[in-house]
Amino acid sequence: MLVFIGKRMLQLIPVLFGVLLITFAVTRFTPGDPAELAAGEDATQAMIEATRTRLGLDRSLPVQFGLYALRAVQGDLGTSYILGYKVTTLIGQALVYTGQLALVAMIVTIVLGVPLGIVSAVRRDTAIDGIARLVALIGVSIPNFFFGLLMILLFSLYLGWLPSFGTGTWRHLILPGITLGTFSTGLIARLTRSSMLDTLEQDYIRTARAKGLAGWVVVYKHGLRNAGIAIVTVLGLNLGNLLAGSVLTESVFSFPGIGRLLVNSIFNRDYATVQGAILVIAIIYVLVNLLVDMLYAVVDPRIRY
C-alpha cells in the first residue's frame, strides 16, 4: 500500500508541472491584458506600460514562467493583482469555506442519495420506485441557482428558519450545502439504483436469499457491498467537483468559496490567482483520486495494492 501511495505521489510531479505550464500558457494567450485593466479607463500608453512593469509582465514569457515555477515550488504563488493579498492566503480562506460546503453537500448526497437508490432498486417498478426516480430526476435536472432561490424563499423568507446568505455559523451552511448536494444526490441515487439492480439479479443474491438470510442483510451485505465500487468511484469524483467550487451556488448564497474566487480572477485577468487556484484544484483532484483508489481496497477486499 505504501509503495502504491509513494508511486502515486511521484506521479503528482509531472501532473503538476503540466498544470503549471498549461495554466500559465492559457492565461497568457487569452485575449485581455491585466495591465490595461489595472491602469484604468483613461490611462495613456505610458501608464499602461508602467503598470505592466509594476506587475512584472514586461519580461519575456520564459522568464515569467521560470520565476513563477521557481516560486511555486517554494509555496509562493505570488500576489493577487487586484486584491493585493497573497494568493496562498486567498486560496486558503476560500478552500476553508468550500471545504465546509463540500462536506455538507457530501453528507446530503450520501445520506439521501444512496438510500434513495437502494429503496428504488429493492422496490423496483412500484409507486415508491416511481417517486424515488422522479426525485432523483429532479435532483439532476434542476439548475442550482434556481433551486437555491426556491430554498431561500421557503426557509428564509416564508419560514424565517435559516439565513439566506453569508458565512459564520453552521446554520449558514445548510441551504447552500443542500443546494450544492442536489445534483450529486440525484446522480448517486440513479447510479445506486442501476448498480443495485445489476447486483440483485446475480446468482449469489438468490443463494443468499435461499439460505434464509433476512432481507436487509441480503441487500446491504451482499448487494450494496458489491455495488459499492461504482458508487465510491462516482462519489470520489463528485468530491473533487465539490471541492473545485461551484460558482452558481456560491453566487446565490454569497459564499466566498474557490469557485467565485477563480471566476472573478479570470474576469479580472488576475493571472497569479487564476494559476494558483487551478493548481490547487488540480492537486485536490489528484489526491481525491488517490483516496478513491485506496477506498476500493476497503470496499472490495479482493483488491490489494
Binding site: D42, T79, L83, L149, I152, F267
Partner: protein, 519 residues
C-alpha cells in the same frame, strides 16, 4: 455577592450597549478590489473607499463643488495656479496629521510616472506643487484648466494617509486603508464583505449616523432582493428593474429610483469600410428610443446626448427616428435588399458586429431592440458578448492597428456604459483627437477645431464661452454619428423604511454621512 452583582451589572451594560449599536448592512453586486485609492476606481471599490477617504472637495446635490478637506480655493492671477486653503486640525484614522505636505505627496503619488495612479490620465500635468504654509498649497498647472477642480471633486482623487501608506507599504495599504472620512476601516473578508465603523473623531459637521456599515457582497440579484425582504440586509443596491415592484409592495420597505449620469452608448469605428457616413447616419435614423424604453422599463430613460439634459454642456446629437431616411441613405450607398431582408453590395452583406460586455442592466435587451430596428432597414447587427478584459484588448488592438500601421481597424461596433463624474459632459467626450492615446477606438482623424473647443470647455473661461465650446463639440458628435446614446441608466435601490437620510447621488459617489436607522 457584591462581585456577582458588579459582574451582572457589567453584563447588562455590555448587552445594553450591544443592543444600542446600529449596523447598516448594504447588499451589493460584488466585493471591493484592493482598497488603495491610487490603484482602483471601479464603482464597487470607490463606493467603500470614499466612506473612508475624502477628497479636497466633492459634489453637492446641485452639482456644485462643496468644500471638504480644502475649505476654500482660488485661482491666482497668473491663471494657472490654484491655491488651496486646507481644513485645520483634521487627523487621519491613525491619528496622523492632515496638512499641505500630505496633499502635496498625494498629488505626487497620483502622478508618479513610474507607477501612475488611476486619475493620472485625467489630471492636467503640473508645473509645480508648492507648500505655502502648513495648511496652504499652490498647484501650478502647465496650462489653464478648470475641469481640474471637477476631477478633484470626483471619487477619483481621495486624500490618503501619507505616513501610514509609507509605513505599511503600497502593497499592504489596500488591506488597512486610513483616511479622514466619517467611517473607519475595520475588516475586509475578501469576496464577502467590508466592515467600517463610525469615526468618533470626525472633523465635519455631519458625521456617521450609524455605528457600523457592512458592505455585503451578494452577487445574485434575486438573492440580494430576497435578503432585503427577509430583513437580513437593510439596503439592496442595483435591484433589477422587474423586482422593484416586489420591494415596493412589501411591508416596511421603500425604493429609490434615480436617473443617473451613466449613459449606455452604441459606438462605431468610423474608419471601418462598412461604417461609412451614410451607414452611420442610417443607423442613427433607424433607432427608436421610445421602443427601447418600453422594453427596458425601469432600467433607464431614453438618451439623446452625452449625459442627461441637466448636465453642463448637454447637447442632443441624435438624429430623428426616420426609417425611410435610413433606407434612402443605404440605397444611396449602393446597398440593395436581399431575399432575407438584409442588404448587400458587391456580394458583401451589411453585417455589423457589436462587442458588448453586457454589464449594464437592460443593455442586452436594448441591443436586441436595436438589432430588430436595424434589421427593418436591412442592416444585420450581430451581438458578441465578451468580458471586460477581452473587450478592452480587442478595441485597443484595433486602434493601434489604425494609428500605427494605417490599416483599417478590425473592430466595428461596441457598447460602453459611461458615467459623468464631474457634472459636465466633457468628462465623457472624446479627448483631444490630435493627441489620441491607445484608446483611439473611434478612429477619428485629428480635428484641430474640436480639440480647441475641448480645450476651452475644460478651461477656466466664463461659463458662456465653455458652453459655446461644448456646442461646437456637440455639433461634431452630430456630424460624426460615432456614438448613439441609447439610455441613461436608472439607479434602483431598495431599503427598509427605517433607513433615513439616504440620498442617491446621480454621479455614483455614495455619501453615507447622516444616514440613520430609525424604528
Amino acid at each position: 455577592m457584591l462581585q456577582r452583582l458588579i459582574a451582572f451589572g457589567t453584563i447588562l451594560l455590555v448587552l445594553g450597549f450591544a443592543a444600542a449599536q446600529t449596523t447598516l448592512t448594504i447588499g451589493r453586486a460584488g466585493d471591493v478590489n484592493d482598497m488603495n485609492p491610487f490603484r482602483q476606481a471601479n464603482n464597487l471599490t470607490a463606493e467603500v473607499t470614499y466612506q473612508i477617504h475624502e477628497g479636497l472637495m466633492r459634489y453637492g446635490p446641485d452639482l456644485e463643488l462643496v468644500p471638504m478637506l480644502a475649505r476654500d480655493w482660488e485661482l491666482l492671477e497668473d491663471g494657472v495656479t490654484w491655491r488651496f486653503y486646507l481644513q485645520e486640525g483634521v487627523t487621519f484614522h491613525t491619528g496622523n496629521l492632515f496638512n499641505a505636505e500630505v496633499v502635496k505627496w498625494n498629488f505626487e503619488t497620483m502622478l508618479n510616472p513610474e507607477a501612475p495612479g488611476i486619475a493620472a490620465g485625467l489630471l492636467t500635468a503640473f508645473e509645480s506643487l508648492e507648500v505655502v504654509d502648513e495648511y496652504t498649497l499652490d498647484v501650478t498647472l502647465n496650462e489653464p484648466n478648470f475641469i481640474f477642480l471637477n476631477i478633484l471633486g470626483a471619487a477619483l482623487f481621495m486624500i490618503v494617509d501619507m505616513e501610514h501608506y509609507l509605513a505599511v507599504g503600497e502593497a499592504n495599504y489596500g488591506q488597512s486603508p486610513s483616511g479622514t472620512g466619517a467611517f473607519k476601516f475595520v475588516r475586509w473578508d475578501p469576496g464577502e464583505r467590508v466592515v467600517l465603523e463610525r469615526n468618533d473623531d470626525y472633523w465635519g459637521p455631519v458625521g456617521a449616523g450609524v455605528d457600523r456599515v457592512v458592505f455585503q457582497s451578494i452577487p445574485d440579484e434575486s438573492a440580494r432582493v430576497l435578503a432585503l425582504l427577509t430583513g437580513e440586509i437593510d439596503m439592496a443596491f442595483t435591484v433589477p428593474a422587474d423586482q422593484m415592484g416586489l420591494i415596493e409592495r412589501a411591508q416596511n420597505m421603500q425604493v429609490f429610483r434615480t436617473p443617473t449620469f451613466r449613459t449606455l452608448f452604441l459606438e462605431s469605428n468610423i474608419k471601418h469600410p462598412r461604417l461609412t457616413e451614410n451607414v452611420r447616419y442610417a443607423i442613427a435614423h433607424a433607432i427608436d428610443r421610445n421602443q427601447i424604453s418600453t422594453v427596458i422599463g425601469e432600467n433607464g430613460v431614453p438618451a439623446f446626448g452625452h449625459g442627461p439634459p441637466e448636465s453642463v454642456g448637454y447637447f442632443d446629437h441624435s438624429l430623428p427616428f426616420d426609417p425611410e431616411e435610413a433606407r434612402r441613405l443605404l440605397d444611396e450607398d449602393g446597398w440593395t435588399v436581399g431575399s432575407d431582408g438584409i442588404r448587400s453590395r458587391d456580394g458583401e452583406r451589411l453585417t455589423l458586429n457589436v462587442l458588448t460586455r453586457g454589464v449594464t442592466a437592460g443593455e442586452i435587451d436594448a441591443l436586441q431592440v436595436v438589432q430588430l430596428q436595424l434589421r427593418r432597414v436591412g442592416i444585420d447587427l450581430t451581438l458578441e458578448r465578451v468580458d471586460a478584459a477581452a473587450f478592452t484588448s480587442a478595441l485597443n488592438t484595433g486602434a493601434l492597428r489604425w494609428k500605427e500601421d494605417g490599416l483599417p481597424p478590425l473592430t466595428e461596433m461596441w457598447t460602453t456604459g459611461s458615467g459623468i463624474r464631474t457634472g459636465e459632459v466633457g468628462y465623457l467626450q472624446n479627448r483631444p483627437l490630435c493627441f489620441q492615446t491607445v484608446r483611439a477606438w473611434y478612429a477619428i482623424d485629428c480635428t484641430p477645431e474640436y480639440d480647441e473647443a475641448f480645450s476651452i470647455s475644460q478651461s477656466p473661461a466664463p461659463l458662456e464661452e465653455r458652453l459655446a465650446a461644448y456646442e461646437v463639440m456637440g455639433e461634431y458628435n452630430k456630424l460624426w454619428q460615432h456614438r448613439h446614446p441609447l439610455f441613461h441608466v436608472q439607479s434602483n435601490i431598495g431599503a427598509k423604511d427605517s433607513i433615513q437620510g439616504f440620498v442617491v447621488d446621480p454621479q455614483d459617489s455614495l455619501d453615507l454621512r447622516g444616514v440613520t436607522i430609525g424604528n
